[in-house]
């Protein structure tokens, strides 16, 4: 009885040690200090661009420079936090004409793989779920920097962008000019190592 308890204790201590090691490469995206942005850029009738961002989101990632293939990212975005500096336009974007934010309040990204390409660069692939539709996307990403910050934490920061075809996510843009059928998604963030 005591022997078994001792073994269980030793095993759980060992598994904790393993988990502790894995944790060393796990980062939480710094939404507290707001060093993280999810932005989009879409053409407006061929005249200019509309830029906007989602203000409320959270996420985490796994990053180990010695095992880049094991990199992963997860993010969850509150669609209703969309902001383009124009309350009525924001409301229109969130309506059933485009994002149906009431029905699909969150958008998520869960990575499925990472392919390193050259120094500090690579292609992240994963499943983007927007308006209830899940599509595999690829996003070229760059490691911008990592190291100790002045406040006692360790940080790593990235940026990446990709082009989304809105029809893939059930957003009907057929009434609008061709140049508006796609948008550019830009993401940059710092993570704080846990």
């Amino acid at each position: 009885m005591f022997k078994r308890a001792a073994i269980v204790t030793a095993l759980s201590a060992a598994s904790l040690a393993v988990a502790g090691h894995a944790l060393a490469d796990d980062y939480v995206i710094d939404t507290e200090g707001q060093h993280a942005f999810v932005q989009f850029k879409i053409n407006h009738l061929g005249f200019s661009y509309i830029l906007g961002q989602f203000e409320d989101f959270e996420g985490s990632f796994h990053y180990d420079p010695d095992d880049l293939e094991a990199s992963s990212v997860e993010m969850e975005v509150q669609v209703g936090s969309l902001h383009t500096n124009h309350a009525e336009r924001d409301r229109h974007f969130l309506s059933d004409d485009f994002l149906s934010a009431d029905e699909y309040p969150t958008a998520t990204f869960v990575s499925t793989g990472f392919e390193p390409k050259g120094e500090d660069e690579g292609v992240l692939s994963g499943e983007l779920t927007l308006k209830g539709e899940t599509r595999e996307i690829e996003m070229p990403v760059t490691l911008m920097g990592e190291g100790d910050d002045p406040w006692g934490n360790y940080r790593a920061g990235f940026e990446g962008s990709t082009t989304l075809t809105l029809a893939d996510y059930g957003i009907d843009m057929s009434d609008f000019p061709e140049v508006m059928h796609e948008l550019e998604l830009y993401v940059t963030f710092e993570g704080v190592r846990q």
Binding site: P150, W151, G152
Partner: protein
Amino acid sequence: MWSNTRSGWGLISIALHWLSALVVVGLFALGWWMTDLGYFDAWYNRAPWWHRSIGMLLLFATLLRIVWRLAQPTPQAHGSRLERLAAHFGHIALYVLMLAVLFSGYLISTAKGRGISVFDWFEVPALISGLPDQASVAGAIHWYSALALIVLAVGHTLAALKHHFLDRHDTLVRMLNPARARRR
């Protein structure tokens, strides 16, 4: 023991009074110091985190304190009619300034709709946000009302010392000893 009477303060009022005094002075010093920290200082983020967390706890304690003060008997004031009147308005001003400092501090951090984390235990939600220039206006109110609160608190201290040493009143003693509340 716990409750106030017309002759003295109970332990709850005494504890809330001295706790507030300690925290107000501490937060004032912390706020003064932290707003001069450079961006690369190790305390640049940590000091405001303490300031916000303690400030929110003091806000709750102060609301509780005001409820308790209103619900409980207040010990008889000492001194001349003018002194008692000045003391009465002085005390009201202290409460009003405390609420102003605490509430304006809350409005700075929540100006853009984000709540305030209290020691990462729980979050106080942002109830009022997006007012014109909210962070700047609340910041100015926070600073000037804090300054006024400290000045008035110094006056409050001097008045207490005058009652104790010159007038030989038990004003200060009954804020230290809950047994005074028992005497009739």
